[in-house]
């Protein structure tokens, strides 16, 4: 009698465990209007940013942002515009990380989402682009 109870408890625990693990491995929610709008905005901006990544003027930072790496690679007349582009991109990226955390009802995940993105942006960057290594030094991919 005692053993059959024990087995019942163990099986129930196991079942709950599987359900939890399955839920944890499901996809994150990223199909919200706010996230889609940020994606479009960043996609449009990318046509202007791509040549700057290519020339090494702008690089991918270790914290999931972008930054001016080599101001000399940008003609003086365009520097203000490039700085504005970088600021706008970083605003969108911060909003994107926050919106993904909110869409999944875990606002506390924001920094981990940012860290995941930081890795993935760098991992998927094109050869020749610059990124920051974990100690903050610029490295050419």
């Amino acid at each position: 009698m005692v053993y059959s109870n024990w087995i019942r408890v163990a099986l129930l625990t196991l079942c709950i465990g599987f359900v939890d693990v399955a839920a944890a491995q499901a996809n994150l929610e990223i199909d919200t209007p706010a996230i889609a709008a940020l994606e479009r905005s960043m996609q449009q901006r990318h046509t202007q940013l791509a040549p700057l990544y290519g020339s090494g003027a702008v690089g991918l930072t270790r914290d999931g942002n972008i930054a001016l790496r080599d101001a000399n690679a940008v003609p003086l007349a365009q520097r203000a515009q490039v700085n504005a582009l970088i600021a706008a991109e970083n605003r969108d990226r911060a909003a994107l990380y926050r919106e993904i955390a909110l869409a999944n009802k875990h606002p506390e995940w924001e920094s981990e989402i940012r860290a995941t993105f930081a890795q993935r942006w760098i991992e998927r960057a094109q050869p020749g682009w610059y990124y920051q290594n974990p100690s903050g030094a610029w490295v050419k991919k």
Partner: protein, 63 residues
């Protein structure tokens, strides 16, 4: 005696299960986050595979 041992065991198992639930709830799904990041990066950097390219090119043709 036997019964007491069992209730202690059951209680600790219950505590463990409860602890596991709390842990799972705050656990960050790293693999799912990577997949989500890759999907968004594909979109933003237009790294989409061949199947999605005609869709992206379509709006440009009418002009």
């Amino acid at each position: 005696m036997h019964c007491r041992a069992f209730s202690i065991f059951a209680a600790s198992l219950g505590a463990l299960a409860l602890g596991a639930c709390v842990t799972i709830n705050i656990y960050f799904p790293a693999a799912a986050a990577e997949r989500a990041a890759d999907r968004i990066i594909d979109e933003v950097w237009q790294l989409t595979p061949d199947s999605a390219k005609p869709k992206a090119a379509a709006p440009a043709t009418p002009q």
